[in-house]
Amino acid sequence: MRVWKFGDDIDTDAIIPGRFLTIYDPAELAKHAFEGTRDEFAKGAREGDIVVGGSNFGCGSSREHAPLALLGTGIRVVVAKSFARIFYRNAVNTGLLPLVCPGADEIRDGDAVSVDIGGGFIEVNGKRLPVEPVPGFLKKIVEAGGLVAYAKDLDRVETCSTE
């Protein structure tokens, strides 16, 4: 499992350009992930690799094609110093795990990495970097494997209930 390292303010246009938004199949979207920004990614990313960004990862458009394109390449975890709000929620909803890691700057491209979600850290080059857990109300969705699985068996929700 290797790290694909990106910088700050990686926007969803970079993750999947606008001209591919008529595609909804993750495997097809994956062929165009980071096209024009980092062309070797789509071909090189392997099941279990991890994308690591700086601050404000996933800013811009609400397009859910962005997490889907990453999922289609086999990426299951995205680590960043911070995430843009809509991307973060889209990732949780589609089953891509976003992990906030204040020490993400220490991670370099190509590093070997392992993730210990229960332990709340990722291990890079023998060093453990703490990651922040997904907030309570989203944890149920992560545990279900995404919002579709979570919502499938619900007939109704209690409006104005608090978490």
């Binding site: 595609i23 909804y24 609400s62």
Partner: protein, 417 residues
């Protein structure tokens, strides 16, 4: 207890006091879906076991990103959405009315105190109507279509007080670009912006929409202008509604308070490749441009086109070698501009005037840039690759700056034209 405008909206809609940080399953008053993100939302709705949408009258459907269909997959998406609208008895504006955020506003589908979601990040535009409006992804929208509610974390708020009077040919777009430059692309992440102060009160609805539209460019969840007489006049002209008081309390727990004065504000330009990379127009004046786009949900209203036409004045033609694309944000705005003679002036001067749609801002339909080309655009994003090649450059500015730049083929201070 003192509360921000966001806290008041969630408290009112939930029938009890909620505070920033609370997570509530809040009712959704209106939900907007379009041709790009809508099909995925519909698929998710069905995967969630959805049979009938929660309330067809609260769902707003239209097509604006790829219209008229620019590819067979786009045409298939339109057919798919039309069939869903018919099956669910949802009113579908189809491709007839214009850009989603303009249409929602001008059809009176957004009002003060409402909670509105849309599968488009610029849904925050409806904050200009005093609504709490925010962009969501397609899977969240599938959930909304089924249940009519969504988990919201009630956001903290940043109080912005904007005073002073805009100088000649300086306005709302310059203000919001300068705020983006000051606050930063993630300076308001997860938060709501409250736009207050004299300059906001004196701003027309078109300008307020420009400001609220770009709240997302600072990471904000919403950008709200407290409703005043101008808001109520706008909304009441479009639907049956009685005005009520809605404003943040001065002693509410704001995360931050910032003061601005627009009196000496110069025209602003966001330079490649981030929206918060903002400079005075003078710093980039003289930069050659290949394409100029006047339009979008940010700046495609009649007032924006009039601002551009005023700068164009009696000039015969735009500069040789620059492509000027003008796209009114809606059919209504198009007609207003047409009847005022603005469209005729743009066409005479050499512009391509297109039917209302997202146009080059979408970066996938038409008006794409080749490697090395430079665009100046009145839209909201200048990310690398946003309008075509990742080797192209996009500058963002006001309609006045766009028109001035179109006259000279290079970035030009509109005050000097």
């Amino acid at each position: 207890m003192a509360a921000t405008i966001a806290e008041k909206i969630f408290s009112q809609r939930c029938g009890r006091a909620v505070r920033a940080g609370d997570v509530v399953m809040a009712p959704v008053d209106a939900a907007m879906i379009h041709d790009i993100t809508g099909p995925l939302a519909v698929r998710v709705f069905r995967e969630m076991g959805g049979a009938r949408v929660y309330d067809p009258g609260r769902i707003i459907m239209l097509f604006d990103h790829q219209i008229p269909a620019d590819s067979i997959p786009a045409a298939e998406n339109h057919v798919f959405m039309r069939q869903f609208a018919e099956e669910q008895e949802i009113h579908n504006y189809d491709l007839l009315e214009g850009v989603c955020h303009q249409v929602v506003m001008e059809k009176g589908r957004a009002a003060p105190g409402e909670i509105i979601v849309g599968t488009d990040s610029h849904t925050c535009t409806y904050g200009a109507a005093g609504a709490f409006a925010t962009g969501i992804g397609s899977t969240d929208m599938g959930f909304v279509l089924k249940f009519g509610a969504l988990y919201f974390r009630v956001p903290e708020s940043i109080h912005l007080e904007v005073n002073g009077t805009f100088g000649r040919r300086v306005g709302a777009k310059d203000l919001i670009l300068s705020l983006a430059g000051d606050i930063g692309a993630d300076g308001a992440t997860y938060m709501a912006l409250e736009f207050t102060g004299r300059a906001m009160r004196e701003m027309n609805m078109a300008g307020r929409m420009t400001c609220a539209n770009m709240a997302i460019e600072m990471g904000a969840k919403a950008g709200i202008v407290p409703p005043d007489a101008a808001t109520w006049e706008y909304v009441a002209a479009r639907r049956n509604i009685e005005p009520f008081d809605l404003a943040g309390d001065p002693d509410a727990a704001y995360a931050e308070s910032r003061q601005y004065n627009v009196t000496d504000l110069a025209p602003q330009v966001a330079v490649p490749h981030n929206v918060d990379n903002v400079v005075d127009v003078g710093d980039v004046a003289g930069t050659k441009v290949d394409q100029i786009f006047i339009g979008s949900c940010t700046n495609g209203r009649y007032e924006d086109l009039a601002e551009a036409a005023e700068v164009l004045g009696t000039a015969d033609a735009f500069a040789t070698g620059v492509r000027v694309i003008v796209i009114p944000a809606s059919r209504t705005e198009y007609l207003k501009a047409l009847r005022a003679g603005l469209i005729e002036r743009f066409v005479e001067a050499g512009a391509l005037v297109e039917a209302p749609c997202c146009g080059p801002c979408m970066g996938g339909a038409f008006g794409l840039l080749a490697p090395g080309e430079v665009s100046l655009s009145t839209s909201n994003r200048n990310f690398r690759g946003r309008q075509g090649s990742t080797q192209a450059s996009v500058y963002l500015a006001s309609p006045a700056t766009a028109a001035a730049s179109a006259l000279y083929g290079e970035i030009t201070d509109p005050r000097e034209v």
